[in-house]
Amino acid sequence: MARLIRTEKEVEGRYTEQWVVVEEDAAIDQWPAGPRETVGRPVPRVDGYERARGQALFTADVALPGMLHAAVLRSPYARARVRRLDLSRAREADWVLGAIGPDDCDALTLEPGFHGEPVAAVAVDSPGRAREALELIDVDWEELEPLLDPEEAVRRNELHEEPRRYERGDADAAFADADVVVEAEYRTQTVLHNPLETHQSVCRWEGDTLEVYISTQFIWGVRDDIAESLDLPPDRIRVICNFMGGGFGAKNGAHAQTFIAIALASQTGRPVRCALSRREENLATGNRNSTIQRLRAGARSDGTLVALEGEFVNAVGWKGWSGPTYGPMEMLYACENVRTLTYGAKLNLPPNAAFRAPGFVEGTFGLECLLDELAGRLELDPLELRARNHADRDLADDRPYSSKNLLECYRRAEPHWARRDAVRARSEGPWRRGVGLASQIWYGGGGPPSYAWVRIGSDGRATVITAMQDIGTGTRTAMAQIAAEELGLPLDRVRVSLGDSSRGPYASISAGSSTTPSMGPAVRAAAADAARQVIEIAAQRYHLEERLLTMQGGKVVSSDGGSWPLEEVTGLLEDAQILGKGARGPNPTGMRVLTFGIQVADVAVDVETGEVRVERIAAIHDVGRVINPLGAQSQVEGGIIQGVGHTLSEERLVDPASGIVLTQSLDAYKLPTIADVPEIVVELLDIPDEHLTNLGSKGLGEPPIVPTAAAIVNAIRDATGADVRSLPVSRDEMLRALREARERERAAAPA
């Protein structure tokens, strides 16, 4: 029966309480640990050929009859007031079919607060002329003084929310008693998501129903955003995203381009595409905001952490949210006395957006570098220091973990860590080599509500139906594996239908490393429900007891020896089908569901030119049961590559006077190339979380990027003695840190 429960829901570290309906008539036991027939074995993407052949239809490929193309007039200033906006010349031009301003669409404004904020938009029938049409809009701008400095914003109390204060224990007393105290200021830069597919939507009215094709991480969130904003019944909105070219957290809602396309579709009566150019993408769709972190750690001489303190300034931008930069400091170690203070500065800069473990990537960089500086002062092995301060229980919430195998990750890291003498010994000439490590903590438990159906046809083939999205991470493949496993079917007899809110039940957001842990259990439950029905039918047809029957290898198998091909059983139905339904159950009550891990980086630094090469990264993560080791490895590699870019070369720059974004194109904004990618060694513990769902799986999208920057920077310190405290580690920062280290050495040398 349907069960209504009140449960805690977490997405990327933000908790809310909500009612959800779960269906749990038959509790399903977890599979034993280890590889199964399909689950736990490496499987190439089920949609690999479609993608390689260019048959997979992305939002960028949607071309509807009569479709118009929108262009957006964006603020050229970081802060301005539009004294006059005149659309009449655009509206009079016969080749311009739609023109809208703030009166027509809430996503447009006459008081832009960042460079690139949308002010007006037009629609034409040729994509090549859309930008030309913008020249027909007459605007009288009044440029205003922007606020760009986060420290100044804190001084002026220009904040997104009240400063967040957290304290447990008595940090002051603990610092006073500590044998050693280290403190440092760390800075992280603003980085951009840069998914291959830019933000885009195609909107069409079909009678009183609105169809929205969109590159999104959350079909249902788009539906809700539109319903709420336009006061439409949600079921009159159909949201479609079959294939998606990446989001990394920046595509969790409808976003401005959707509302612009809807307004223009309403005005013109035609389908409208609004697709951002790469430059628009790098202006206005979100970023990982820069941070300033003033950190302090106190320890006893044996390495026991007694106090941690952090003041964090998140340079949030004009809109957005102040992320959990404090999270690792409060959660990673068994430290009784912790105090944090976090400001979310409101600036005339493009808004931030969730970006692959928001807050924790930045906060882990600061905390884990500080830990190594502490290890240096204490002359303790950095891995040993971390193991000594291992938290057996979550101190931030005072709860047990649903599962935690971080000490096993540390143990598995030892051989990689033990290579450091050999790595250092390979230093030659100006090239110094070293090894560094950093620990990882993040969420990733997923949760309800999430639903799936499994349909078995008379041909003995199964289709998983759910209105989730595969954002490129390979969850389509993982869902097929789970259903195939439960149904005892070869993988090629399972299809997955997803990506359409009117063709399947409600499904989870693909953010917060939640798709697999949220959707996987629902898919398994739906498959189990379908399998139960197949067995009931077979039992009646062949006059057997249900308890003797199982589904294996595409057959219904009786423990007393008989077996029948599945299609023989389902063939009885002719064109009818079996439909199984499944729901994601609640998360374990009173427990913290988290992911853990450690990365060990080998680097080489040219101490004369400041060139840094990351040569190898070993990543060991504890994310519960692994559904597809091949897909999982790909996620870890992607996270580390994005982490290498964050550490070494990526930085969004703005003009310090005007707030205009300078690095809009991909030659100025430097993503890593394949030549920058190190050897990556992936080890996943693959230990199911016995308290979490019928799978024991957690998410893996985000954990791999969390410790990368700190591991690299700690390796740089190991190699050179230089304390890098600011990202990216560009030549200027590396040469500065090397100079500072030389001066420190000189000052310390006996006269």
């Binding site: 400041g610 003009d655 300078l662 100025a668 430097k670 890593p672 190339t673 560009s730």
Partner: protein, 278 residues
């Protein structure tokens, strides 16, 4: 926009100006057209009229960087500079003549700020974000010249034959002045046709960039040894490719606060380059 395919250098030269722009590989021109930094009604394709290929010490201006980087007849500094420039796709389109004339990557100039180089009164980079910018010749305009091959050719003492004259590569470039904001001495309608590159006894090009591949030089150092001594030239340090006599010339650099590191970075690269050729 229309495309013109003239059959002679004279016809090409005559067609230029008045809204007509020369098109070779297009790797810099096309993005600039798209960004409206250059406006053109007519593109004059040079493919049929500008020489391509290597003959002895002469290099046709239409030769691509990809062709040069694998040609054993080409001095090492130029081969290495070509190989370290851009990406394989860009190098197989971009020509050496076009590469010498490519525009700066200064983000203020690329975003069409009304800066000195665009004819305005001040350099926005000097007061603004300028970590990629110049340490020499930067008083009026702090842009950095992006060409790796230009520094290599300057060190090699290359000479340029245009549709009107022959000149040393050093004379091709000039710092922008109050009266003339161009960074080259080419006249309207003048086309680079050929380069003459003396054979050095040894040469090398070293490059520091923000990532392992596909980035413009923060500092590039070319060194070429001839019977009468070693010539040094740098990329990424001035609005034009920049000659230095020795490492000590770096003491005369005029870095901005954000480019001081480039002086520090140039020193070991110069030492290594000199060590490599001597």
């Amino acid at each position: 926009m229309q495309l013109l395919r003239p059959e002679s250098v004279e016809a090409a030269a005559a067609a230029l100006g008045n809204g007509s722009v020369a098109l070779a590989g297009g790797t810099d021109l096309v993005p600039m057209l798209r960004d409206r930094l250059v406006s053109a009604e007519t593109l004059v394709e040079l493919k049929e009229v500008v020489p391509r290929g290597v003959e002895g010490t002469r290099i046709g201006a239409g030769t691509t960087l990809a062709e040069l980087e694998v040609d054993p007849e080409i001095p090492a500094a130029l081969r290495e500079a070509c190989a370290l420039a851009a990406s394989p796709q860009l190098r197989s389109m971009g020509t050496i003549g076009g590469n010498l004339l490519q525009a700066t990557r200064c983000w203020y100039w690329r975003l069409d700020f009304p800066c000195f180089l665009h004819g305005g009164s001040r350099c926005h980079a000097r007061e603004g974000a300028h970590r990629e910018h110049a340490i020499f010749g930067n008083e009026r305009c702090a842009s950095a010249h992006p060409s790796d091959p230009a520094a290599a050719l300057l060190a090699l003492g290359a000479r340029v034959r245009t549709s009107r004259r022959e000149l040393g590569l050093e004379e091709l470039y000039r710092l922008p002045t109050e009266d003339d904001r161009n960074v080259t001495a080419l006249e309207p309608g003048e086309l680079i046709l050929e380069l003459d590159v003396p054979r050095p006894e040894a040469s090398v090009y070293l490059k520091a960039m923000d990532r392992a591949r596909w980035a413009f030089p923060l500092v590039g150092v070319a060194a070429a040894r001839f019977a009468d001594g070693v010539r040094l030239a740098l990329a990424g340090v001035a609005p034009i490719p920049w000659r230095l006599d020795s490492e000590t010339d770096l003491d005369r650099a005029t870095p901005l606060p954000g480019t001081a590191y480039k002086v520090e970075l140039a020193r070991p690269l110069i030492r290594r380059a000199l060590h490599s050729v001597t």
